[in-house]
């Protein structure tokens, strides 16, 4: 048996053990749903509420993907601008690092007061979280370029933009993509947290409402769907990455 398929088998086994332990704990100790609902109840709850949950997941994913796209564009754009205009670096880099070291959730009250509780505030929050990660990782990638390669291209008469397009961006791509990948899970979580503080819809809103309506099966159902949405988003970006980086895959 190959090590890879053994790893998959063990991974599945681990998940099965967890599910059984959860089910056994909840059923065996007859835990009430407000402490821990049984796994089977949660799965049944997801199936029963599939229309509502799919709708909420759609809202959350739309916020996360839109914010992700905007944030990625802003972050990468800013990094490229700083790479093109080195004079701007001294001002932009410290500001970005300072803003980034403040926990993103601390901004959410302010953004909610500014942008209201519609989808706008979630998109802004996600964009905020994603843009700094991408700004810093893209900049680090752009800086990784070999000095001698730059000099070589220059000696052939290449301008600053040509060096950026032909050399620096391709070099930065792996780090940029790593930043894009890690931001997927983060963008869903940020959208969800912001929804819980105030929203018209989405998985975070469903969780918030379910807590108030004392429906803990629904709380857990929404959490599971959110986790699934994160993994899906992550998987899609990973797939896109493998397509883009095909020349690197051995």
């Amino acid at each position: 048996m190959s090590p890879a398929s053994r790893a998959v088998q063990r991974g599945v086994l681990g998940a099965v053990v967890l599910v059984l332990a959860w089910e056994g704990l909840a059923r065996g100790l007859a835990l009430p749903a407000y402490v821990l609902p049984a796994m089977s109840d949660i799965l049944a709850g997801i199936w029963r509420q599939r229309a509502l949950l799919a709708d909420a997941a759609g809202t959350t994913l739309a916020e996360a993907v839109l914010g992700y796209g905007l944030g990625a564009l802003a972050g990468i754009g800013l990094a490229v601008a700083v790479a093109l205009v080195p004079a701007a670096r001294g001002a932009v880099l410290p500001a970005a690092t300072a803003v980034n070291s403040v926990p993103v959730v601390a901004y959410s009250p302010l953004i909610l007061l500014w942008c209201g509780i519609g989808m706008g505030s979630k998109i802004v929050m996600v964009a905020l979280a994603v843009s700094f990660t991408l700004f810093l990782s893209t900049l680090a990638g752009l800086d990784r370029v070999d000095r001698r390669a730059v000099d070589l291209l220059r000696s052939f008469g290449a301008g600053r933009l040509a060096v950026l397009w032909r050399l620096r961006l391709p070099t930065a791509l792996p780090l940029m993509l790593a930043g894009l990948r890690v931001s997927t899970v983060r963008s869903i979580i940020v959208a969800l947290v912001t929804e819980m503080l105030g929203a018209y819809g989405g998985l975070g809103w469903v969780i918030y409402q379910a807590v108030l309506q004392i429906d803990f099966v629904q709380v857990w159902s929404a959490i599971f769907v959110a986790s699934g949405a994160s993994l899906l988003f992550f998987g899609l970006v990973g797939l896109a990455e493998r397509r883009l980086l095909f020349w690197r895959t051995p």
Partner: protein, 277 residues
């Protein structure tokens, strides 16, 4: 597969993040750097103060910095106590998360079967939003400082474990064989070879964990508490007290940057051989 690649995604991004910021910390610690940092902060403060009246910004969008400062000075104890309480939660969660992360990485490194069984579950657990999980923590751990530290811990341990594991695996097997031929015990090999070799990677994760543990502490305080920066944020938000909101936000910023800089400075001392590269 997804699990493994999700895990691998973390260090790449964190390395990048740490790279730029690490350089910044180093720059700030140079003699002229401190002066430049102070000047920069003063410039931003002046620009903020001047922009509000000049651009006619309504105070409930952005208050003047002087208004924020006087709000802090009116009740300094609230901000000091909140700062210390959140700092304590952050530090406890961070330390526990870092220690557990390294320990679990050692266990995963030694016991491949355990790793293959548990690791995917850890990965999936990281996609669960803390805030949804927080009410349960209160239920299980009560309304204590420890409940908040637990959330900080939950956010912290995973990146540390992933990076430590990657660091351990990058060790050259020939070096292990060499040490073993000199009669070194597995324990000695771990302490003398693997841990130092993984330290740069671990610190990359610790810098990320510094911000994450603060997020955990703040979100934890949203589940019913009296003191803490998270409480101040929440109270200001629901009372539409924008001045108080900015004051709490600035306190969070101070704590976040301070803790991050402290971890980066510690890294510079402990991983000196890497920092010179």
């Amino acid at each position: 597969m997804t699990a493994a690649s999700l895990a691998r995604a973390l260090p790449g991004a964190t390395a990048a993040r740490g790279g730029a910021a690490g350089r910044l910390v180093r720059a700030a610690l140079r003699p002229g750097g401190v002066l430049r940092l102070v000047l920069g902060v003063c410039a931003v403060a002046l620009a903020w103060e001047a922009a509000v009246p000049l651009l006619g910004i309504r105070p409930h969008i952005l208050p003047r910095l002087s208004a924020v400062a006087s709000a802090v000075l009116a009740t300094p104890a609230a901000y000091r106590d909140g700062f210390l309480r959140t700092l304590a939660e952050t530090l406890i969660g961070f330390s526990a998360g870092a220690a557990f992360g390294v320990l679990i990485a050692v266990a995963f490194f030694r016991l491949r079967a355990l790793r293959e069984l548990v690791f995917p579950i850890f990965v999936v657990s990281q996609t669960i939003p803390v805030i949804a999980f927080g009410a349960l923590v209160v239920l299980w751990f009560g309304n204590t400082l420890l409940a908040k530290a637990t959330i900080a811990f939950y956010l912290t341990f995973f990146p540390v474990a992933v990076n430590a594991l990657l660091g351990f695996e990058a060790v050259d097997p020939r070096q292990v064989a060499l040490l073993r031929s000199f009669g070194a015990s597995p324990r000695q090999i771990l302490l003398r070879l693997h841990l130092p070799a993984a330290l740069p990677q671990i610190f990359v994760a610790l810098r990320l964990a510094a911000s994450l543990s603060l997020v955990g502490a703040i979100v934890g305080e949203w589940f019913g508490d009296t003191t803490g920066l998270g409480v101040l944020l929440l109270q200001a938000m629901y009372n539409e007290n924008v001045v108080g909101l900015w004051a709490a936000l600035l306190a969070c910023a101070l704590l976040g940057t301070g803790f991050y800089a402290a971890v980066a400075a510690l890294e510079r001392r402990l991983v000196f051989w890497r920092a010179e590269q």
